[in-house]
């Protein structure tokens, strides 16, 4: 892959939210590390899917990439332009090239704007179109592209169905002619039958307009269908990144394995016999993440060495990138999974000594 093919490159991106206390003067008492060191690159014209359970920081990553949430540290380069240091005026004109689609189409549309005004707003902001008729022409073409009728222009968002609202949201992003679209859970608020329509629409638009997507979702099937590359996030960091099919057939990271084993198979025989990995406990608090590998408190393959004290970096294994010290041994079957009991995770300074916070008490059996 040559340099020119990369549209977006994210390096060591961090988004930390301060936890504040105090009545009159705020005191920072901690940091929620929503995104904590993410590297990824998105190829032009391709779709990068980002999956992970709720609270893992995938939406924050998408917003930080678009500079809608200011990153704490790290770099985001868009088509060779560094966004994190860009002055706000330049950034605003840059926004024409990168747009966002939101999860809830109702709350992401201003209830007091009709569709025409929603779609005109971006055009006016960036001075696209010479006059009203020219803008109407652009808007009309966009409506056709997303499959909305012309009479929609004078209607208000509450007069549409969920799927149509999402089409309005897509039209708003498209009307500026962007190169990158960040879709944050674009279909999870929609009925299953409508989901397919919207996913197919996104696919068609990519083919006809050469768009680059970052699709954030927790629905593994949707992500597999739409993505070329899939990144799996856990507690603010990428744990695995692989070409879509590869990830689904041959997950390497223990967390990815657990995720994939949760996807039901539509064959009762296979469904009964297949191995399922149940993760114990909840996602640890991003304000107080476990030491070493973030996943070691819940990992059925966790080892007494390295896992608790050395944070794994993404390594190339074949075509995948995996952040696990023992990925090869797990893949070859050399390491066997062991039982993990749920840990009580207490915030620092409360209850028992924080030493109990991490590391499985029962390392279990491994070869």
């Amino acid at each position: 892959m040559s340099e020119n093919d990369i549209l977006v490159e994210v390096r060591d991106l961090k988004v930390h939210f301060p936890i504040k206390r105090g009545v009159l003067f705020d005191r920072v008492v901690g940091q929620v590390k929503a995104v904590d060191g993410v590297d990824l690159s998105i190829a032009r014209g391709k779709t990068y899917g980002l999956v992970g359970e709720s609270g893992c920081g995938k939406s924050t990553l998408g917003r930080a990439l678009l500079q809608l949430t200011p990153p704490t540290a790290g770099e985001v380069s868009f088509d060779g332009v560094e966004l994190t240091t860009l002055p706000s005026g330049k950034l605003r004109s840059m926004r024409r090239r990168m747009q966002m689609i939101f999860q809830d189409p109702m709350s992401s549309l201003d209830p007091r704007q009709n569709v025409e005004s929603i779609l005109t707003e971006g055009l006016q902001t960036h001075g696209i179109g010479t006059d009203r008729t020219d803008r109407r022409r652009i808007i009309g073409e966009t409506l056709d592209a997303v499959g909305l009728p012309r009479w929609a222009l004078s209607r208000y968002p509450h007069e549409f169905s969920g799927g149509q609202r999402q089409r309005i949201g897509i039209a708003r992003a498209l009307v500026l002619g962007p190169e990158l679209i960040v879709a944050d859970e674009p279909v999870s608020a929609l009925d299953v039958s409508i989901q397919a329509q919207v996913v197919n629409l996104l696919d068609e638009l990519q083919d006809s307009l050469g768009l680059t997507y970052l699709v954030i979702a927790h629905d593994l099937a949707v992500v597999r269908h739409i993505s070329d590359t899939v990144g799996v996030m856990y507690l603010g960091a990428l744990v695995e990144e692989a070409p879509s099919d590869r990830l689904y057939t041959e997950p390497l990271h223990p967390y990815t394995r657990a995720l994939m084993s949760a996807v039901p198979v539509p064959d009762p025989d296979v469904e009964d016999r297949r191995e399922r990995i149940l993760l114990a406990g909840d996602l640890p608090s991003p304000a107080n993440p476990p030491s070493g590998c973030r996943f070691h408190t819940r990992c059925p393959w966790a080892q007494p060495t390295r896992c608790a004290d050395e944070r794994p970096v993404l390594r190339d294994i074949g075509v995948s990138r995996v952040a696990c010290h023992f990925a090869e041994q797990i893949a070859s079957g050399e390491l066997r999974p062991h039982g993990v009991s749920a840990q009580i995770v207490r915030p620092e300074g409360e209850g028992d000594a924080p030493g109990v916070v991490s590391a499985p008490t029962e390392p279990g059996s491994y070869v």
């Binding site: 809608l68 926004r95 809830d104 004078s154 208000y156």
Partner: protein
């Protein structure tokens, strides 16, 4: 009735065409709220009361049978110590303690009362919305400096809020001297914190909504987002509050007049002043106090009914 598939499709097409033509334009939120307001009996009762009140206030003074300042009763020797004549055929509400026609005074007084209510609410709304709007925009969209501005303004509002409203009004009235303007300013200032807090809170919650994020990602300037998205979507509770404040403003203005801080020219009738004057003659003719009191209550009720109905009509949770 059976139709061939082709005929059926034709019929459906024609129907859908008709339906589409029927409401060519979309229905905005305000239009829908108004439609629901019309269907609410409480709103209609409130609106009728207020329409009558405004009508009386505007045209009433031109139609009254006697001048409101004309002391007919004294001229005709009807007013003696301990005697205030009651209603007669010519004087429906009788005379007041200075022998003036009570009915005429009630009608002329409506204008003053409406003026006090509307002007003081507008004063409170204007100052409150300005402070709340700046504060809300600063807190919601302004970053670190914005939070400083917001905190400073809100501490000032907290100070106003901490003072008992009547005490605050009395101090303002005492500071500026007794006059009708003073009453309006005092009552207005008292309602400033309510409007400011309400608009600020509403704006902050709107500023965190997805459509503001969407506008930011379109590249719209923050000042424009505040004016075109945040403020219009935050106004509904403020408008409802203004309607409800009109009712309390009339009552508070009456209270200030009652305490002798109102218009020193007692010849100009105002319901609050009339109520204050009547207390000395409660033993002789209690109805002198009942007329203005009932009028104030009915007017306040009208504003409250309409305000509550508007709150319901504008509540997004009740929208289908």
């Amino acid at each position: 009735m059976t139709l061939s598939p082709g005929k059926k499709r034709e019929k459906i097409d024609r129907l859908s065409e008709l339906a589409a033509r029927d409401d060519e334009r979309g229905v905005s939120l305000w239009q829908e709220a108004f439609r629901r307001l019309r269907g609410n009996p409480a709103a209609i009762v409130g609106a009728v009361i207020l329409a009558l009140f405004v009508l009386v206030a505007v045209v009433g003074p031109f139609l009254v049978p006697y001048a409101a300042t004309d002391t007919i009763g004294i001229r005709e020797g009807l007013i003696k110590p301990g005697v205030i004549p009651g209603p007669t055929g010519d004087h429906w509400f009788g005379y007041d303690h200075q022998g003036r026609d009570e009915f005429s005074r009630m009608i002329v007084g409506a204008r003053q009362t409406l003026l006090v209510g509307v002007v003081s609410t507008l004063i409170g709304l204007a100052i409150g919305a300005l402070i709340g709007g700046v504060s809300g925009a600063a807190a919601g969209l302004g970053g670190r400096w914005g939070r400083w501005i917001d905190t400073t303004l809100m501490r000032f509002i907290d100070m106003l809020l901490a003072m008992p409203s009547l005490l605050l009004a009395v101090s303002i009235a005492a500071l500026l001297g007794a006059s009708l303007t003073t009453v309006m300013i005092a009552v207005g200032v008292v309602s400033v914190p309510v409007f400011a807090r309400l608009l600020r809170g509403s704006m902050i919650s709107q500023a965190n909504s997805d459509y503001v994020l969407a506008a930011t990602s379109l590249g719209v300037k923050k000042s424009k987002i505040a004016l075109t998205h945040v403020v219009p979507n935050s106004l509904a509770p403020v408008i409802v509050q203004a309607t409800l404040t009109l009712a309390t403003a009339i009552i508070e203005a009456a209270a200030l007049s009652f305490l002798g801080l109102g218009n020193p020219d007692t010849a100009v009738p105002e319901w609050g002043v009339m109520l204050a004057d009547a207390q000395q003659y409660l033993g002789i003719r209690p109805s002198l106090a009942i007329y203005p009191a009932v009028a104030i209550i009915i007017t306040a009720l009208g504003f409250t009914l309409l305000g509550e109905a508007m709150r319901e009509a504008l509540d997004p949770k009740l929208r289908k």
